[in-house]
Amino acid sequence: MIRSEPSFQGYHRADGSIGVRNHMLVLSVGGLTIPTARRIAASIKGAVIVGFPYNAGSLLGEDRATWKRAMFAIPIHPNVGGVLLIGDNPPLTAEVAAHVEKAGRPHAALTLDDCGHDAVTLTERGMRAAARLAMRISFDKRAPAPLTALTLGLECGRSDPSSGLVSNPLLGRMADRMVDAGGRAIIGETVEWLGAEHLLEKRAAAPDVAKAIHDAVRRREETAIRNGLDLTGNNPGPTNIAAGLSSIEEKALGNIAKSGSRPIQGVLAYGEAAPKPGCWVMDAPAYASESLTGFTAAHAQLMLFTTGVGNSFVSALAPTLKVSANPETCARVGEQLDLDASRVFLGTETPEAAADRLWQRLLEVAEGAATWGEILGEGDEVVARYGPAM
């Protein structure tokens, strides 16, 4: 007898990963070619652009490591069907292209140097190359895939107390379901563990994981102290404070509810993929654009993102479902929220019923149903920067 495992229809990649989208990606390897990448992407229906605004050769230390991790990961994200790499640095562009080739992902690479340093020529040649890739990947078909192939990124932004009360615990239920199905779930935003780290440490799968969580929090806290930064006004930010969050501890206690209740397998570096199934935490900046890109680089195919007062930002590559439980927000930003959880806040829907609705919606989106962010063309990827450059 064939046992029926939970599954969804996804795109099977040559490297074994499974995508929930089949994006034609135009990726600018350096900053000088981002405007050209924008022109090319705007000319190819449905193409997505991601730009790395820095010269990787000038980056130092943690920035160099982060850049490399993200640059090698993003063009072979499971949701990418084909990628056009353009850049201003031929060796670097070739290095990334070789990595993409190894993964077996359809691609083409062009540099300004190949085009007489003329952006117009690069635009024309890039358009033709991207069009050919788009045609090629249009033949790709979805096929059944196990939920174990999925990584879920969990984010919150422009939070209010309804986030900690209802929406983040709802995401926690999604994290638990994903982990129980054999998939991966990741939360980041290290500064938003301050005051709640003891609860994360208690869930650590091993003593060294608890210590890594503790150390990551101490590093962020000491950085704030060293820089004379009063977190109140920064995180919680002005919008959080206006909405009723009074301290980082209060925000953090709500934030970590997103991670659910399963054991925490480890602390990931920014953009680092989870090496095995389960719940993971990523030591990363809290700002939504940088945080989501950390999950994208870790090959999260889907994001769940709660908001208190509203937050339009989504990942460019991973469909991002927005959730709010604040009744005023749900009434105001209907074309932003993929799930209205305000009835849980008002006590007329059980959290379990809302969790069933959100899980169903997540699986529909995994199989191609659109998020509001996709329909409205929101979406970007922003790789975090830490220090000075040459």
């Binding site: 107390p161 009360l165 005051g195 102290i225 009063d230 977190l231 404070i241 009074s246 206690l253």
Partner: protein
């Protein structure tokens, strides 16, 4: 219920609707508190009298300390609550 106390130890509750001064707020389990000032949706109301330095508890966990005397029914926010974290020691 007008405001929710997330843990029995908590000395604040979160408003599930905006409150006007003088309104009695049902906080569940037959308990209530009278708002002594207007408090917006999702903001916090004090359930007990607090002195400067007292820990403020929500989710059964410390979310900061009182920086001024706080009366039951008062709005608890950044004007009378301070984070204990990322402070120079």
């Amino acid at each position: 219920m007008d405001a929710i106390r997330l843990s029995p130890d908590d000395n604040v509750a979160t408003l599930l609707r905006a409150a006007k001064r003088g309104e009695r707020l049902d906080i569940g389990d037959g308990a209530s508190v009278e708002a002594i000032e207007d408090i917006p949706l999702c903001h916090k109301v004090a359930l007990a009298a607090l002195q400067p330095g007292d820990r403020i508890l929500k989710y059964g966990e410390t979310i900061g300390e009182a920086t001024a005397p706080i009366r039951p029914g008062a709005h608890v926010h950044v004007h009378n609550l301070k984070s204990l974290r990322a402070r120079a020691r």
